[in-house]
C-alpha cells in the first residue's frame, strides 16, 4: 500500500442483496454486484474522473470511499486510512459535493447552512465564521449569503454544495454528478470554477460523472467503469489512443446520388456512413472507417470514378462521447459492430 496516495483501492468489491416484496422474505435474496475487484490509485492534487453509464457503480464507489457504504470485500484507503476501520478519521479528511439538490436545510441561508456544517467538523466559532465567509466569496454567493436557500436556483445550490464540500478544507473532495440538473452554460461555468478554484494542486478531486465532456474538461486522468468493473484508466490522451479504433472523416460530395453513396458501406474498412443533404443540394457524408485502413482514399477514388466531385474532405476527431459508446455498448453510436466490452480489457492502458 502506498501512503502517499490520496485514494487507493485493491480488489474492492460490493455486492448488494435484494429482497423483492414479501416473497423475498422466504425465498432469500438475489445478489447484484455493484463493484467487481476495482483497483484504483489517485494521487494528491490530481483531478480524477470516474466515468461510466448509469448503474456502472460510480456512486457506490464514491459512497464506499466516503464511508457511507460498507464494502463486501477488498480494501479501500483514503489518505492511507482504511475506510471501514478508521471511518471517522477518513470523514475528517474528505468533502462531498452531491448533484442532488435535496441536501440542504432550505429554510436556512447558505451562511447558516455552512456554519452548521462547520460546527459538525468542530471548527472553532471564530475560525468557522471566517471560513464560511471565505467560501461564500469563493463560490460567488456574497449577495445571496443570507437569503433562505429555497429561493436559490439549481446553479446557486450547486455552488453552495461546493462550498459545503470545502468547509473542512478537505484533502480529498468527491463530486458526484456535480452538474446534474444544470443547463449547459451553468454546467460549463461550474466545471471551469472547479478547475480554476477548487483544484489547488494539493487537494485530490474525484469526479463521478457519465458526461464525457465533463471528464474531458475537468480531469487529469479518468477511469472507465462499466458493470462494476474498471475497464480503462489513463489520461484523456491515453484513453483516446486506446479507444480510438475508428477514424471519422467528413466529405461534401456532388454529382452522385444518395443510393450510390450508401453503397460505399461495402468499401473495405468502412464501418458506417451517415448521409445528409445540405441546403446547397450537395451531400454530406460522415464516414467511419477502421483506424489505419485505406478506406478514405478508396472511398474518394470510388466517388470520382463514379463521376462525382469531392468538394471537401476533412478528418474529424471522434469525441470521447462516441468512443465511450463504442467501449460501453461494444458498438459505434451508429450501431455498427466494432469493439466488444470484453475486448476492452486487452487495451488497458495501466
Amino acid at each position: 500500500m502506498n501512503d502517499d496516495l490520496a485514494v487507493e483501492t485493491r480488489a474492492l468489491t460490493k455486492r448488494f442483496s435484494r429482497r423483492h416484496g414479501w416473497r423475498g422474505l422466504f425465498r432469500g435474496a438475489s445478489e447484484k454486484i455493484a463493484l467487481d475487484h476495482v483497483d484504483l490509485a489517485i494521487r494528491p492534487g490530481e483531478i480524477f474522473g470516474l466515468l461510466g453509464p448509469n448503474g456502472a457503480g460510480k456512486t457506490t464507489l464514491v459512497k464506499i470511499l466516503s464511508t457511507l457504504v460498507l464494502p463486501s470485500g477488498g480494501l479501500a484507503l483514503v489518505g492511507g486510512l482504511d475506510v471501514t476501520r478508521h471511518s471517522r478519521e477518513v470523514r475528517r479528511r474528505i468533502g462531498m459535493v452531491y448533484g442532488d439538490e435535496r441536501t440542504f436545510f432550505w429554510r436556512l441561508s447558505v451562511r447558516e447552512n455552512l456554519r452548521f456544517y462547520a460546527s459538525l467538523y468542530r471548527l472553532p466559532a471564530r475560525g468557522a465564521r471566517r471560513r464560511v465567509d471565505e467560501l461564500i466569496g469563493l463560490v460567488g454567493l456574497e449577495d445571496a449569503a443570507d437569503v433562505p436557500m429555497h429561493h436559490f436556483s439549481t446553479g446557486m445550490k450547486q455552488r453552495a454544495a461546493i462550498a459545503r464540500g470545502l468547509v473542512s478544507d478537505p484533502e480529498i473532495l468527491f463530486l458526484d454528478e456535480p452538474t446534474r440538473g444544470l443547463d449547459p452554460l451553468a454546467a460549463l461555468d461550474l466545471r471551469r470554477f472547479v478547475r480554476e478554484r477548487v483544484a489547488d494542486g494539493r487537494r485530490a478531486v474525484l469526479v463521478a460523472t457519465h458526461m464525457m465532456a465533463e471528464a474531458e474538461e475537468l480531469c487529469d486522468r479518468v477511469a472507465f467503469l462499466n458493470q462494476g468493473r474498471v475497464q480503462l484508466i489513463g489520461t484523456i490522451g491515453e484513453i483516446r489512443d486506446a479507444l480510438q479504433t475508428e477514424e471519422a472523416h467528413e466529405l461534401v460530395v456532388d454529382g452522385v446520388g444518395w443510393h450510390a453513396l450508401e453503397r460505399l458501406r461495402g468499401v473495405p474498412g468502412v464501418t458506417s456512413v451517415r448521409l445528409e443533404r445540405l441546403a446547397s443540394g450537395r451531400l454530406f457524408a460522415d464516414l467511419r472507417a477502421q483506424r489505419g485502413s485505406r478506406a478514405v482514399p478508396d472511398v474518394i477514388r470510388a466517388i470520382v470514378d463514379a463521376g462525382g466531385d469531392v468538394w471537401s474532405s476533412a478528418p474529424r476527431e471522434l469525441s470521447l462521447e462516441e468512443m465511450f459508446a463504442i467501449a460501453v455498448r461494444g458498438r459505434s453510436v451508429d450501431d455498427q459492430p466494432t469493439l466488444g466490452v470484453r475486448d476492452m480489457a486487452a487495451v488497458l492502458v495501466r
Binding site: 460490493k14 448488494f16 442483496s17 455493484a34 457506490t60 459512497k63 466516503s66 464511508t67 457511507l68 457504504v69 460498507l70 471517522r88 478519521e89 470523514r91 475528517r92 474528505i94 462531498m96 452531491y98 442532488d100 435535496r102 441536501t103 440542504f104 436545510f105 429554510r107 436556512l108 447558516e112 456554519r115 452548521f116 456544517y117 460546527s119 459538525l120 467538523y121 468542530r122 466559532a125 468557522a128 433562505p148 459545503r164 473542512s168
Partner: protein, 264 residues
Amino acid sequence: MSVVGAFLRRDFLIWSSYRLAVFWQVLGVLLLGGLVYFVGVTLGDGQPIGGRRSASFIAFAFSGIAITDVVMQAMYSVPQAIRENQKAGTLEPMLLTPIGAIALLLSSSAFKFALALGRMLCYFAVGWVLLGFWHDTNPGAVLIVLVPGVAVFAALGSLSAAFVVLVKQGDPVLIAYAAVTAMLSGVFFPIDALPAWVQPLSALVPLTYVLAGARAGLDGAPISQVLASAFLLAALAAVLLPLGVVACNWAVDRAKAEGSLGQY
C-alpha cells in the same frame, strides 16, 4: 460552537422561520390548559384526588400533561428527527461529517425536547402563579424521578430510531406503545379510575412511576419517598440505554452495508 449548540441553533432558526410557530406553540398550551381548567371547574374542582392536598383535577391533569409531554418528546423526537432528515435528504451529508451516529441522533432531537421542557415550565408556572398549586414543591424529588424517566424514554426512542433507519418509516410499535402508556399511566385521571383488572398493568408502564414520583415531588414529598421509583427507572435506563446505543449503531452499519442510508 458545540455540536448540540449547532443543532439547537439550526432547529431554532428553522422553527422560527415559520411566522406562526410561536403563536401555535402558545395557542396549543393555552387551549389545552384552558380545556383542562374548565373541565376541572365543571367537575367542581377543589375536591382532592387521591387524598393529596393540591391534587385537584386541574393540578393532576396539568402535571400529567406537562410531564408526559417531556418524556414522550424524549421518546418521539429521536426517530422523528431521523425520519425528517431522511425525507429532507440531509441525513447523509450529516453522517459524512466526523460526528458519531449517537451524537447525531441525540443532538437532532435536542430542540424538540427543549420545546417540551419549555411547555412543561409554562404549565408549572401557570399552576404555581395563577392557580396556587405546588407551592411546597420539592424540586429535587421531581428531578430525581424525571431524569431517569426521560432516560428510559430516550432509550425507547433510540430503539425506535434504529427501526426508522432500517425500515424508512415511522415506528408503528412506538405509536401504539405511546397510546397504551398514556391510557394506563394516569396522565389525565388516577389509575384507580381504571377497571380493577386493568390496574395491575399500570405497574408495567414506566410512565406510571415517573408521574407518581414527580407528582409526589410537586406536592412536597421528601426524596426518600420517591427513591424507589427513581431506582426502578434508573435500573431500567441502565439496561435500555446501552441497548438503544447498540441498536442504533447496528442499524446504521446495516444500512451502510445495504447502501440504504440515504434512502427514504
